[in-house]
Amino acid sequence: MKVCATLPETLTSIPVSQVTSINQNAYPDALPNFRNLGTMLRILVSVNAMGFAAALLKAPTGHGFMQEFMEIAAVIQPVLLISLLLLYALHRPLARLPYATGIAAVLLLELILTTMTYWFGGTKADNIDMGAISRYWIFGLGVTGVLLGYFNLRSRALSPALSEARLQALQARIRPHFLFNSINAVLSLIRANPKRAEQALEDMADLFRVLMADNRQLSPLQREVQLCRQYLQLEQLRLGERLKVEWHTDNMPPDALVPPLVLQPLLENAVYHGIEPLAAPGIISINIFKHHDEVHMVLRNPYQPDGDRHGGNKMALNNIRERLALHFDAEGRLESKISDDIYQVHITIPFVVTT
């Protein structure tokens, strides 16, 4: 972490070789996760786009273009679909190989698939046109290489974002308003109820330990929920009767892995924008359940139409969205909506557990 935060200043004083070795330690090269929906979509879209471009280049006229594209598609589509299936199936063994061997294996796989498709599916199968097949080889290898390069660059580009997001998270998370009001509340307890003050300080210590930890790795849902309960206890201390909390966690998978601090900032927003502007008691409800290999987390709180600036809320939502994208790509979603004076945030992530 520190490495990446201070890199710009120290770059000049460290020999280049050392810098790259630090980089490699922080973000090891790896094949993309072929089982991720986002990865598959990216492959599908880019291969088709490249096939389209190739047809466009080859075709002399608009009419000939369609024919070219169909011809290219006849080879590309089977290769593409079989590749996706095989890569899905082989994801684990491939991931275990060293990066270079993994790349070679994928390239070889594509080469074989292209040849086989050309051989069995091609219209001119009886006489092998070495010129045509080698063009498909070049195309196949080129596309695969470009895509693997793209995924590698993408993960490199996003990895620092993960750590950056952590820093950003830290700043956005601790609302100074909450910190100082909580300290004030604890101070008020020390004389009258020292036991309760002790417990509050312990909760605060736990909360800040997580806030300040390295939060790049996924952690069990159970832990996040525990943290949220401690956070809400602190808020309860200040708000008393005004804050009512309803937990629905009967169908929660406790060992599901989630990005740390995925819920706590949302609860903080719920208290700040939903409960504090209300004089009457308000309810925050948290519903967590597993459905079809997905974990759903639904948060509801009273909505205040003329409550003040929602900038903070938007920032927290974007922050969480970004982290969901970093961890789960297209499979992690965050949706928010307002209906009947209730503000709702719905997070969906794939169900993952430690193996």
Binding site: P176, H177, L179, N181, N184, A185, L187, A192, A279
Partner: protein, 254 residues
Amino acid sequence: MSNLPLKIVIVDDEIPARNRLRDLLQDCAEEISLEVVGEASNGLEALALLQSCPADVALLDIRMPEMDGLELAQHLHKLSAPPAIIFTTAYDAHAIQAFEVHAVDYLLKPIRQARLMEALTRIDTAIPPPQEAALRQLRPRPRTHLSVHERDRIRLIPASDVVYLRAELKYVTIRTHEKEHLLEESLIRLEEEFGERFIRIHRSCLVAKDRIAGFEKTPEENGEARWVVLLRGVEEKLPVSRRQLHIVRELGRG
């Protein structure tokens, strides 16, 4: 206020925060003569409390439900003997910056006893209370309520109840669907503040946009026709001036 105890009111929506202030004031009481005469949990309660039980000092939290501390301070100005105001806040970068600019007294939570003591003793040497203009700047959002004098008391009228505001000679008449009240403020200032809610239909009249039922053309005595505004909940029809005729087109449902 030589030997009489300093009468203090605590206004904060969080019970622990009020308790903490009471503890601290108790500590201060060992050195200066003071007395906590009441507590309130929001601006509305505080205004009611301060009218029945006048105080020398009001310790006001800024962020509170119903009515916040900054708006409360604006209404308190209308009391015959307004209390000195000390704002308390845990964190509000925007307000703190403004307090510094306008030399408004404020305490940061958690509050230190020494700092509280200093603020209270300074009141004895009479520092000027925050000016209304300064308070308005501090709180750029429109007030939730308008305050009018009624038989030596301050009456609060929720801004959402107002149907229209009409300038008279020295006053502005506030029309709600049940009553009329007189307000000592200028229509121009009110238009600036409540521009979101009201629209000017005439040199001397602002109408709540959501109370406009429609427009109607009525013949005048001199033969010319004139547009009037029809209102929801009030029988009266208000004339639209020639200058403001464009609003008939813009809001036109008549």
